[in-house]
Amino acid sequence: MRANPFRLSVKKAFAFGFLGAAVLGLSACGDRSKPAADGGAGTPAPATSSGNTILIGHFGSMTGSEATFGQSTDNGVRLAVKEANAAGGINGKQIELKTYDDQGKSQEAGTAVTRLITSDKVVAVLGEVASSLSLAGGRVAQQYGVPMISPSSTNPQVTQIGDMVFRVCFLDPFQGWVEAKFARETLKAGKAAILYDQGQAYSKGLKDYFKKEFEGMGGTITTEQAFTGGDQDFSAQLTTIRQTNPEVIFVPGYYTDAGNIAIQVRKLGIKVPLLGGDGWDSTQLAAIGKDAIEGSYYSNHYSFQEDRPEVKNFVEKYKADYGVIPDGLAALGYDAARLLFDAMKRSASLDGKTLAASIAATKGFAGVTGSITMDANRDAHKSAVIVQMKGGVPVYVTTIAPPE
């Protein structure tokens, strides 16, 4: 006789469940670094760097919670490639771009860079936005001796990997200082609460720098609460924050979480502005946060409203190609690619060591996001802008230059 199905042992049922979960996990890992779906990797001819083309690689989060990061950066890079090719390429050779999606996962980032270098044989790699992913990809690039330029990873550890890893954006110690200065001097806030993502190197680092600087300027941190990226419910942390009556809440996370947090902040009746970092920079921030995010501030690499010729020129061209206003990540992607092409033109050869030396020698490069000079640590030192969300658009508030 068959056993009564209702009475089948729960242990057995759960064993089945566990097996299933394990298989799910495995199959999720199996799906590696597929090329970006939207024509990102559209290179019909077998790509080589030896013939009449120079192949460069880009890895970014084309899908996932931080999808606009990768997409914007890729658009920026693509625009730079198009311009460089129209202007005759690099010493007569056309540039070809290969983009891989890392889905915002660090193991995928490592695989994507490995594939770009070992199988596609790119001469240089551009990417990533998220610091955790640049750390994963940077280690691979360093190991193979191929230069990598991160357009927008702000965590200090990224370029500490080694002499092959560069960046064209400012660093989090500076960004934390900018935000603390803005909170203390412009917002006149004495008390700040912090809600950070415990799973992201970027968020944790920025939190520490902000805290140090804010306290150094005489402010107090009322409470430090943590969440994990992708969390949906922040009520426990926000209730604690509400009890401490802060004048500003610092949320150094990425835009999806920031949007969700803003919704719940307002739902709980907290009225103070939120303050974020460049990880907020996405059109999706307003799409998710809507009215909840209005009036909040974040620091960024540039604002499309800045009155500089580089910015105006770039915004115009970008809008013509993609029909949207470029965010900071698009601008940095554009700058990173153009800086790379500039170094290639100056470089005697395109092998890793020589090219890296040329990139390291970059001085006073006029980028959309400001003048870029590589220092001894392969970092760029630039000003930051503060923007405020108004009517769904980040509106330029002020520029804060690094201290002398």
Binding site: R2, A3, N4, P5, F6, R7, L8, S9, V10, K11, K12, A13, F14, F16, G17, L19, G20, A21, V23, L24, S27, A37, D38, M62, T63, G64, S65, A67, T68, Q198, Q225, A226, F227, T228, G230, D231, Q232, D233, S235, A236, Q237, T239, T256, G259, N260, I263, K267, L268, G269, Q284, A287, I288, G289, K290, D291
Partner: protein, 300 residues
């Protein structure tokens, strides 16, 4: 309050797991994806019907309409999944069906990410219900969304309970779950009953998806890890309540919701998943058949 609201959502999803397990003895891993589908269909409908505009409050019937449409749609999807993926395997070993379920789950996740469907971006669910704070009991805010969500979930569970324990169809479902072969000898159309089970479970999951989107309007993309974890917790709820037991799933869901939210609020929000899975371990250690499950030694 959050505990009750979230708990009743877990319960709604857990019901789907438990009903399928009761009739077919396999874990339908695609069930949590039906829940995600429910949330995203609600979003698509709400935007499609033009309720996304800020400022103008949508009419009160909009929420009900979208809820019912999402339930109907997901019921249809649940029916097709059973008909196309599971029915051909009715006579196959249980493991094959389980693997198929995982395949269906991955299929739904990835189809959901297609550009012309839901895409890979997180989206904001338009607010269909004016979220008022109804009361403030010693610092705990009671939100209209939570109250309506809980009431809807409870009402659906009562309807289901009535359906299963008070109607002929319900009796047929129970008969099939007791012994499929004998039930079919008694003139019950087993295939129809199983299809109905799937439709029922899927539409409950869709309702849960809709209510979830109302409570947490920042919708993650269809394949996001958050959804997988949610589905897993609902499955835990089903196991804690005693898998295969309808009332156990309801109890388990509410219990899990309570433990998670209370733990997060009063102990530490960083360990919220740990509370849930610790309870699971305790239940499996001390009452392996679940709270309302009946333990029977299996004959080998």
């Amino acid at each position: 309050m959050d505990g009750v609201a979230v708990g009743s959502l877990y319960a709604l999803i857990a019901l789907g797991y438990t009903m399928v397990y009761g009739t077919l003895q396999f874990i339908n891993f695609a069930h949590s994806d039906i829940f995600v589908l429910g949330a995203w269909i609600s979003y698509t409908l709400a935007v499609g019907l033009g309720y996304a505009m800020a400022g103008s409050a949508p009419p009160a019937y909009a929420a009900v309409l979208i809820l019912l449409c999402a339930m109907a749609f997901c019921g249809a999807v649940g029916f097709s999944v059973e008909r196309l993926a599971y029915r051909p395997l009715r006579k196959a070993p249980r493991l094959n069906v389980l693997i198929t379920a995982i395949g269906v789950s991955l299929f739904l996740q990835n189809v959901g990410q297609l550009k012309w469907l839901f895409g890979t971006q997180p989206q904001r669910m338009p607010g269909l219900i004016d979220d008022k704070i109804l009361a403030n009991v010693s610092g705990v805010q009671v939100h209209l969304v939570d109250v309506l969500g809980t009431v809807t979930a409870l009402a659906l569970m009562l309807v289901l309970d009535w359906l299963i324990f008070r109607t002929r169809l319900g009796r047929a479902m129970r008969a099939v779950s007791h012994d499929t072969a004998v039930a079919s000898l008694m003139g019950i159309n087993v295939d129809a009953v199983i299809s109905f089970t799937f439709v029922l479970g899927s539409s409950l999951a869709a309702a849960a998806g809709f209510l979830y989107a109302m409570k947490y309007p920042g919708l993650n993309q269809p394949a996001h890890a958050t959804w997988v974890l949610l589905g897993l917790k609902a499955f835990v709820a089903a196991v804690i309540g005693g898998i295969g037991n309808i009332r156990g799933a309801m109890l388990g869901g509410v219990l899990i919701g309570f433990i998670e939210l209370f733990g997060a609020a009063y102990l530490s929000p960083h360990l919220r998943d740990i509370y849930v899975f610790s309870i699971l371990i305790l239940v499996l250690l001390f009452r392996p058949s679940g709270i309302l499950g009946t333990a029977v030694a299996e004959k080998v």
